[in-house]
């Protein structure tokens, strides 16, 4: 890592006069993000202080009333709790699967090269398609593959209704979402594994370290920076998941899979409480910021050692 950073910094034979050009080159992107991220976010804070229900209608300034309403809303905190469950479930499943698959992909196997690319297919698949496939495979009506196979194997007698109860719907969603994301997790971990020099293992072997010891004292510590950034990004990406949940359960049954993104969507576009949704977004953002800061404090920033 360091060597690459250095070669990037040394080279330039004619440096100074390019300073201004750098700003010109990043300007379009910076301007774009300013207009489409920063300004809307500021606008949303303004919106959260109003009492607007539908966009474009007249509204009044009502101060922090929306914040009070959201913070004292049991449904908001229940959704936050489900988001925690969702993130933890996904993290555990994807890390476990990702690790196993990464280790497999790191072996000198002919199949491993091709597999590295093709396992990503579940991640490339559009959500709408993924949802159609899984909904149908899990269907309890005719043509539902998984139920049919389970019945044929005499493991069950009546079809399981995977989305029937809040608990099983949540578990099913976590499994489906992990199916989509574990290949990417595996590839990130694989990249970390490949960055570990073989000599370290050879040396440890010569010193008589067992496979478990090598894993604990070489693999895990070397992966620490990768796992830290993966953990943070994975957290932010999975807490953000909306479409899979919405398209499979719409947050049901009886709100059992309503995570915070679904809560915000419902408030804004189903219940027409736009200003409250804006307030909920701001609170959600602050909660995420707090979680991210806590995470960096506990795990250590991947950039600190530079």
């Amino acid at each position: 890592m360091r060597a690459i950073a250095l070669s990037g910094q040394t080279a330039s034979a004619l440096p100074r006069q390019r300073f201004s050009l750098g700003y010109v080159l990043i300007a379009p992107l910076v301007l774009w993000l300013l207009l489409t991220v920063i300004i809307p976010l500021i606008g949303a804070v303004g919106l959260s202080l109003q009492d607007m229900r539908i966009v474009g209608t007249a509204s009044n300034y009502i101060g922090l009333a929306n914040y009070g309403r959201v913070l004292s809303d049991g449904a908001f905190w229940a959704a936050a709790g489900r988001s925690v469950l969702w993130v933890v479930g996904n993290a555990v499943l994807q890390t476990a699967l990702g690790f196993l698959v990464a280790i497999l992909l790191n072996q000198r196997l002919r199949l491993a090269r091709a597999a590295r690319m093709w396992i990503l297919l579940s991640w490339v698949l559009p959500t709408a398609v993924l949802v159609i496939i899984w909904r149908w495979m899990l269907s309890s009506a005719g043509g539902g593959l998984i139920n049919a196979l389970l019945i044929e194997a005499r493991l069950i007698r009546l079809p399981i209704s995977f989305f029937g109860s809040a608990e099983s719907a949540m578990i099913t969603l976590i499994v489906i979402n992990s199916w989509r994301w574990f290949p990417l997790t595996a590839l990130f971990i694989l990249a970390g594994l490949q960055a570990i020099p073989d000599e370290l293992y050879e040396a440890a072997k010569v010193d008589g370290a067992s496979a478990v010891q090598r894993f604990r004292h070489i693999t895990l510590p070397s992966l620490q920076p990768v796992l830290a950034s993966l953990g943070l990004i994975g957290f932010l990406w999975s807490v953000n998941v909306f479409d899979v949940i919405w398209l499979l359960t719409q947050g049901g049954p009886s709100d059992g899979t309503t995570t915070l993104p679904v809560f915000i969507y419902n408030a804004a576009f189903k219940q027409y409480r736009l200003s409250e949704a804006a307030a909920a977004s701001v609170i959600f953002g602050i909660l995420l910021l707090a979680c991210a800061a806590l995470f960096l404090r506990l795990v250590g920033s991947p950039e600190r050692e530079r």
Binding site: R18, L25, L29, L187, D243
Partner: protein, 276 residues
């Protein structure tokens, strides 16, 4: 590390199992799309189609809005790709080639932007885009998709810029070539795999984006594939054969793009991951 024969066999078997878990649902979708309606919903499932029909595809093309959705998705995805790649290449070159003050801050900001949970932007962007009267236009989705993809594209591109030998650039500059000329004629060809990688990323992201597409577009004639296909679930009393055909048609372009350029995408992705 050398592996024994049995180790290899076991490893290959495990990998095949992983591939099966990933690929089987996709096979199942394709197989079901050519079964007759009767076989599709039969109680006894058939793993290999016993019948063959193209009727679902014909229905998809003639009796649904699928062609319109495809056109809309293509326009939006390609526009997003062009804008996003241009912005990312310019910015990436700026960061790599000129050591301007604050480039670290800029890169850090890109990292934050791509990890940023987009659902937090849902209400804000909807609010601003409606104030501008852009709801129900291609522009709304193109704008959003560029915002969703460009920061990550900049990151992905860094790994490829680092592989460009600095002497080549310096030699051209000493010869009096302008920076933009150097970027266009010398650097771009060298980072072609990187361009392919971010191009795929932008295309795939916009082709599959559901949340904003379902909120920012209300007219059926302007709808993109993801909400369009999801809408078919409710629209017809679920016609699984038709849905599977739609799903295959929507996935096919992605699989082709992926087969052609996936390798550079994966390498950019993993190189970026290590260096983050």
């Amino acid at each position: 590390m050398r592996m024994s024969f049995w180790g290899k066999l076991l490893g290959t078997a495990a990998l095949l199992a992983v591939l099966f878990v990933i690929l089987f649902p996709i096979y199942w979708m394709a197989a079901s799309s050519v079964k007759t309606p009767r076989e599709v919903i039969a109680r006894r499932v058939t793993l290999v189609p016993q019948s063959f029909t193209t009727q679902h595809y014909e229905k998809l093309l003639s009796a649904s809005n699928f062609p319109t959705y495809t056109f809309n998705s293509a326009v939006i995805s390609l526009s997003t790709m062009i804008i996003s790649v241009s912005l990312a290449v310019l910015a990436g070159y700026g960061v790599y080639q000129t050591k301007f003050v604050g480039r670290r801050v800029f890169l850090r900001a890109m990292l934050v932007a791509y990890a940023f949970p987009t659902v937090l932007l849902l209400v804000p962007l909807y609010f601003v885009l409606s104030a501008l009267g852009l709801i129900d236009t291609y522009f709304a989705l193109i704008i959003v998709n560029v915002t969703l993809t460009a920061p990550f594209a900049v990151w992905l591109l860094q790994a490829f810029f680092r592989n460009v030998p600095q002497d080549v650039i310096d030699a051209a500059l000493v010869d009096g070539a302008g920076q933009l000329f150097v970027l266009w004629r010398i650097v771009l060809p060298l980072i072609a795999p990187g361009i392919a990688a971010i191009g795929i990323f932008c295309f795939v992201t916009s082709w599959t984006e559901y949340l904003f597409a379902s909120i920012l577009i209300n007219t059926d004639a302007l709808r993109t594939l993801p909400p369009g296909l999801a809408g078919i679930i409710g629209q017809y009393q679920i016609d699984w054969g038709l849905l599977m055909a739609g799903a295959v048609a929507m996935t096919l372009p992605l699989v082709i793009v992926f087969a052609l350029f996936g390798r550079s995408f994966v390498s950019g992705l993993t190189q970026g991951a290590v260096k983050v």
